[in-house]
Each structure stands twice: as structure tokens, then as C-alpha cells.
Symmetry: C2
Subunit: 342 residues, 2 copies
DNA sequence: ATCTTTCGTCGAATCGGTTCGACGAAATCA
DNA sequence: TGATTTCGTCGAACCGATTCGACGAAAGAT
């Protein structure tokens, strides 16, 4: 009665041991399962643990075992761009981490390399998952020098010796073109990420563009790549230009979630119906496909799978496995109502 | 030379001490500043720290001092709803936490109360910041029983004894009405969050609605509150209904970031110009105001300020301060191009 | 010149676990 | 039956910090 109400400030392994009539080390072995324990003792200990509401002290555990059960996740928290996708990555990483009995420490990209150094060498986390690595990212050399496992979400241009997980954006670009070409479109435009993204050297943009261009050449269709800033005017004037210079464009590939609503709204406004006059393929999370005037044909950005896979690889290398393989997930096209025969 | 390249697996305070020719405790005092240290010793120690790249072991530190310098942040990671706003909160909390020399452990709402219990009693974090608390939230009693500071982002309906930070949504609703009424609009509709939000008892929705309704009554204007699901058809048919039943509506308050593009696109499509025919006030982060066909008059959701304030309150109560005050931030209206005289 | 304070530093205890070697009892083998 | 292995448990060392009491030296008071 009294005890339940009191602040049992911190239940230690010693109290559990005493309450179960065994030694602290035995309790530890019951929890970790690293030595065989008699069924009777096991039951006794587990009961005490439950009854006292025992949770091992994370710090003590980290100190003794050099394992924190924490993964550091480094995300780009520019609040303007990409939000939905980033959020989805974060969500899936946290969920996957919990499934593997780990917690997630959140770091932002703009703290720079120093923060990673700090987290790694103060043993705040066992491993790092890093999003949005740019070409020539100053963090890469540091990550390589770290004594902890690192997994990248989003592959940098050149293999850097770190394991990566990402959508195969090159293939994704090709799939978009193939789909539209199959439908008879002979002139296809790409509404890509903002120039800033290209400039930063975030590789997915370049890879997608290459896949797009190469596939178009291979299929003998005209490719019109554009970059597009994240504002309504940019979209509007961009489309003005596009249709003025290339009136034959009937297919649009939008690789920029942020401008999707604007593109659709603007198309409608200028009297081009989707899909009767223009076919649109969007590269975005599937969850975004349905909430538009017309359900969008998409190549999905599988944030969930990528996040889960990243965690899995991380945990595996914590388990001692090595190997810096890069895993690119095959793109998945879902045909909905925004594409039709030319 | 050699040393720099080697994996100096873990630099300890002892090595720093030896390298500086002092006792470990002295190093500790240099770092914490809890005892006076001679300038000479201080310099010596700080040099060694820098030279060796010393970072105190977080676990050891937590064990010895019962302070982790980690804040747990509990967020709703439904990936469908609210994403942008949630993201902004997260970003600002992380930034503010770092400014106070703390790190952030990310937990998701759907792990439930047990996860909070776990994090608190395993000393993974010093304090909790909890977003999206619902009325009758099962987590509240548990949080109250916790021996650690807790701050809520978003105030629940009834004061629950926990400190809260939030936008004053009641006042926000009133401000929207006042602005439109000042412009001469006599019939104003509210496009609110989805019914699911109301059902969950997330209080901001109800508070905003109350502010909206009360202010309308006080000003003698007609108020037409609507809830709106997060899909294009819902928006479209919702506006159909609205204008059919209330053809006199000339002012629209949109308290639902997710449907903003849809609302604007649909209005345009049905030939109602903004702001000539309909005035629109949006309740959303300021960063969202500009990227629409027409720059939106908004009442800002000050995620940055709220997040920063939450962290500040948390850190303060870690410092021993008590007091469970609720702080509601005054709404700020920014007039842009989407509102005009009726 | 002596007696207090103050200052700067040190050594040792402590935090709460994990893990290794040891050891008695039970089980297996010869 | 005695020798050997296996099983289950314990005690103690250790992980890397913080923090408190002690203590010599320098500074100030009388």
C-alpha cells in the first residue's frame, strides 16, 4: 500500500536480488540469458522484477557493457523542404529501432560533424544512421574514422566505403519514362527538385535525372528536364516557359513532392486536364497519391522500407557483421488516374 | 603521428589526468567548474582534453551524477496528419535542447504509456516533453506519477497538473473572426480539422472552434463551422455543401494545413476568386503562407516559439524550479493577400 | 610569529550494472 | 565407487565518471 505510492526513486538490481533471494549477478543472467538458470530461480527473479517494476539503469548498463541500445539518427531538419518524406523516414526508423529493442537519439544535420564525433565518442549511441549525405560531405571522412557502425540513408554519388540504403533513383527515373513512353507520349518533361538541391550535390536528384535522360534517349523520346523552386510563382512561370518552348510536351514527371499541389492546380488553371491533355507521374510517398484532385500515378518513395532496412543493417553490424554493401531498392510504379494514352 | 590514426577506443578522464599531471577529480572539476581551479592547472587540463579529443562517457556520467542531459520527446508519428507542423516542433525542440546542452531521445506516441515508464525509470532521459495529449489521455496519470519533470506541448482541455505550452487557440479563433468581421464579412465558415481529430479529443480543435463561435456571436456575424477530412473529395464536396447551404459565406477560416492546397485549388476551380469573392484566413505555420497561388493571411502556429519555450520550461524545472503553469502564446495575425473587404 | 581562513588539489567512495573465475552439488562416466 | 564433467549460483573486479572529506600551502588576521 504505502510502497506503491511512494517514489521508489530507483529500483536497483540489488533490491531485485534481495527480494528474490539470489545474488545480483544471477538477476543479471536471468535478464540477459547468458548463462543457464534453473526454472525455479528464473521464475522467482522475473516475479520480483515485475513486482518491483524494475528497469535496469541505462547508464550503468552502458558503462558496464559498452552498449547503449541507442541509435543516433541524423536528419536534415530544414523545415521547408521534403518534410513529409523526412518525417516518414524518421517514423519508420524509430519504429524499426524499437522492434530491435533500441531507442533513437535525434540529431540534426546542421550541428555538423562535431556533433557526430561527440555522440560517438561519448558513447551516447552505439551506431549512427545518417540521412541526406551530399557529395563531398564533410561528415563522411569523420564517419569513416569512427569506431562505430554507420549506415547512410540515401546513397552519395561515389561509393564512400559506408553502407547505404536508398531507392534506386536511376531506375526510378527510367520507370517513369518507360511508363509514359509506353502510353505513347513522345515528349516528356521533368519537374525536378529545386536548384539548391542539385547545387548541394544531394545525389538522388542527379541520379534520377540521369535515369530519366538515359531512358528517354534509349526510347527515342524527347526529354525536357527542369528544376523547380518551391514557390507557387516558380511553378507557374516554370510551366509557362515549359509549354511555350515545348508545346509538344504531354507527359510530366514530378520529382518534387513540395510542388505537387501547385503543379496540379496550375495545370488545371491553364486548362490542361489531367490525364486527358497531360499525363503526370509523381515520385513521392504512396500516402500522398490519393489526396489530389486526381489520384496520381506514382513511383513510390518507400520511406518505410528504407528506414526499416537501414535499422536492420545497423543492428546487424552491431552484431559483428561487416560489409559495406549498398542496397538500392527497386522502384515500384503504381498506375492510378493521372496517366493515360497520349 | 601513430596515435592520431589509431582507434583510441575511448579516452577516459584518467588518461586526461595523467597527461595533464593531475588527479582525475581535478579534471572533473575543471569541466564542471564546481570548485575553484588555478589558472595554470585549468589551462593544462583543457589542453589535454583538446589534444586527446576527450568526451566524457555519457553512461558513466549519468551513473555518477544521475543526470543524463537527455530530454525525451514524445511525438505523434502518424505519417498522414499534421506532418509539417509536427516536424517544425521537433526541429525547434532539438535545436533548443542543444542550446541548453541537452540531446533529444525520440519516442512515438503509439508506444503508449509503457514506453514513458521505461524511459523514465531506466534513466534514459532526465525529463519528458510530450506532444499531442488528448483529453483523458492514459498517459497523463502516469506522467503525474513520474519522478521526472514533464512538459506538455498542446494543452489538454482540463488543467491536469502538468505544465503546458501552446498557442492560445481560443484567442486564435477569435482573431480570425475579428479580422474578417472588420473587413465587413457577415457570414464566415470554418474549415476545421478532420472529425477524427475532434473525436480523439485533441483539445486545440475544440478550443479553436469555441473561440471562433464565441467571437462570431459577440460580433453578430454568422458562423458556419465544418470539419473536413484530409482528402480532395472531402474538401470538394464539403465546399459544395457549404456554398449550397450558405450562399452568403464570403469568409473562410481554414484550420487544417493539410487541406489548404485543396481548398484553394477547389475555390479557384469553382470560379470563386481569392480574395475578391472569398477571403481566406489560414491557421498554419508562417512558412506555409507564401507558397500558394495567393499569399495567405494567416494566424501563425508558432511551432518554433512553442518548442523553444517547452524546452526552456523543462530545463528550468530540471534546475529545481517547480510550478505547473500553463503558458498560452498570444496569436499573431499576418495580413497578406488572401483577405479583402467584403 | 602564530592562528585562522581560504585556496587548490588529491584520494577514495559511490553510482548500478556486467562478466569472469570459482565452487559446491548434481549428473555422467568408467 | 571414485573421477570427471556439467549445471546453477555466487562473489568480486571493473566500467568511467562525480563528489565529498581531508590536507598541505598560501594568504590574512591578530
Amino acid at each position: 500500500m504505502r510502497f506503491d505510492d511512494e517514489e521508489h526513486a530507483m529500483v536497483t538490481i540489488h533490491e531485485v536480488a534481495r527480494s528474490a533471494g539470489v545474488a545480483p549477478s544471477t538477476v543479471s543472467y536471468v535478464i540477459s540469458g547468458k548463462r543457464s538458470i534453473s526454472p525455479k530461480t528464473k521464475r522467482l527473479v522475473e516475479e520480483s522484477i515485475r513486482r518491483l517494476g524494475y528497469h535496469p539503469h541505462a547508464g550503468a548498463r552502458a558503462l558496464a557493457s559498452s552498449k547503449t541500445s541507442v541509435l543516433a539518427l541524423v536528419v536534415p531538419l530544414r523545415t521547408d523542404l521534403n518534410v513529409a518524406v523526412v518525417m516518414q523516414f524518421v517514423a519508420s526508423v524509430v519504429k524499426a529501432a524499437r522492434d530491435h529493442d533500441h531507442d533513437v537519439l535525434l540529431l540534426t544535420k546542421d550541428e555538423g560533424p562535431a556533433a557526430l564525433q561527440r555522440v560517438a565518442s561519448s558513447a551516447l549511441a552505439d551506431a549512427l544512421i545518417v540521412m541526406d549525405v551530399e557529395s563531398d560531405d564533410p561528415r563522411v571522412p569523420m564517419l569513416l574514422a569512427l569506431d562505430r557502425p554507420v549506415v547512410l540513408i540515401g546513397a552519395p554519388d561515389s561509393p564512400c566505403g559506408l553502407p547505404c540504403v536508398d531507392l534506386d533513383f536511376t531506375a526510378a527515373g527510367a520507370v517513369c519514362v518507360a511508363h509514359l513512353a509506353d502510353l505513347g507520349h513522345r515528349s516528356i518533361a521533368l519537374v525536378g527538385p529545386s536548384p539548391a538541391v542539385y547545387r548541394r550535390g544531394t545525389s538522388y536528384a542527379a541520379r534520377f535525372l540521369r535515369g530519366f535522360t538515359d531512358a528517354a534517349r534509349a526510347r527515342g523520346v524527347k526529354a525536357v528536364p527542369r528544376s523547380c523552386r518551391h514557390s507557387y510563382e516558380a511553378v507557374s512561370s516554370g510551366l509557362d516557359d515549359l509549354f511555350a518552348q515545348h508545346p509538344d510536351v504531354t507527359g510530366l514527371v514530378v520529382h518534387n513532392e513540395a510542388v505537387l499541389p501547385a503543379v496540379l492546380s496550375d495545370l488545371r488553371h491553364r486548362g490542361r486536364r489531367v490525364p486527358q491533355d497531360v499525363s503526370v507521374v509523381a515520385v513521392c510517398p504512396d500516402s500522398m497519391a490519393e489526396n489530389h484532385p486526381v489520384a496520381l500515378t506514382t513511383v513510390a518513395i518507400p520511406a518505410d522500407e528504407v528506414g526499416a532496412l537501414a535499422v536492420e543493417m545497423t543492428v546487424r553490424s552491431l552484431g559483428g557483421h561487416t560489409g559495406a554493401e549498398t542496397r538500392l531498392l527497386a522502384p515500384r510504379l503504381t498506375v492510378r488516374d493521372s496517366t493515360a494514352r497520349a
